[in-house]
Symmetry: C2
Subunit: 158 residues, 2 copies
């Protein structure tokens, strides 16, 4: 199960993917637009910065921007950074593998073998979805836009 940290992080990244390249956005703006506690988002963006996904700029006119194009960032890598392994069980993880203590014979562990397939299925989806695809999906799943147009739209129109 995705934590709120990862969820907020993904929302923030989707937001950043929507601004003009070269522009920056304030943490406070991202937080307000997505109903994320500002201080919590500070910490999340800090991690994403350390992992090289975003750049930050201090001082007046500062803020955050993507470090790479949104088509070069996969959702899977973001989730791994914020929440750890994609696999349902750590001994089934490929990039962040760790043996599980209570399992005598890993090669024949039925649970692990099933979860390995589950991991592959998840990774297939998340590693092949880029940030801009994710963002685009939110905009093109259109039904009537009438109700909540307005302030929320100048972000979506990027």
């Amino acid at each position: 199960m995705l934590t709120k940290k990862a969820k907020y992080g993904l929302k923030a990244m989707a937001y950043l993917a929507g601004i003009e390249p070269g522009q920056t956005v304030l943490v406070a703006d991202i937080a307000a637009s997505n109903q994320i506690p500002k201080k919590f988002l500070d910490a999340i963006l800090g991690e994403l910065r350390n992992a090289g996904f975003v750049h930050s700029k201090k001082g007046k006119g500062g803020g955050y921007m993507l470090a790479r194009g949104p088509s070069e960032i996969s959702v899977g890598d973001l989730v791994r950074t914020l929440d750890g392994p994609l696999a349902p069980i750590q001994c089934a993880s490929k990039r962040l593998y760790r043996r599980c203590e209570d399992c005598a014979d890993e090669a024949h562990c039925a649970v692990r073998l099933v979860m390995l397939k589950a991991r592959d299925a998840i990774a297939e989806v998340l590693d092949n979805t880029t940030l801009d695809q994710m963002r685009a999906s939110g905009e093109t799943s259109n039904d009537a836009v009438g109700e909540s147009a307005g302030a929320a739209m100048d972000m979506a129109r990027g």
Copy 2:
């Protein structure tokens, strides 16, 4: 991420799937064979019993057995029973859906739309794997004995 509860539960169910139909097994035996704390397993099997996956018999010669054939129990349903939704995020769950508070416009939430696809991928794997398939994969995985490797292989290698 799967909890130990679900992991233990799956191991126990795989164990039960391996005994003769009509026979019962002691909780203590399952616990010892799989290095599961006995009291914890008590609770887990209790939940599985309430959910109708296993039957229990009291008194001498008692124990647990599957309530249905191991080909009629899916791994997905077991995980749902023990750990809740398969979806990485609850608003992307189909059977155990719950709205998430911090999301104004669910139909256009990019995170949710991606996680919906992830959920489908996970469910595809777990709902289409039955208990006996899971158990079989553990027995034929890599140092297969006399048995034909044909059908079992495409499952084990993913």
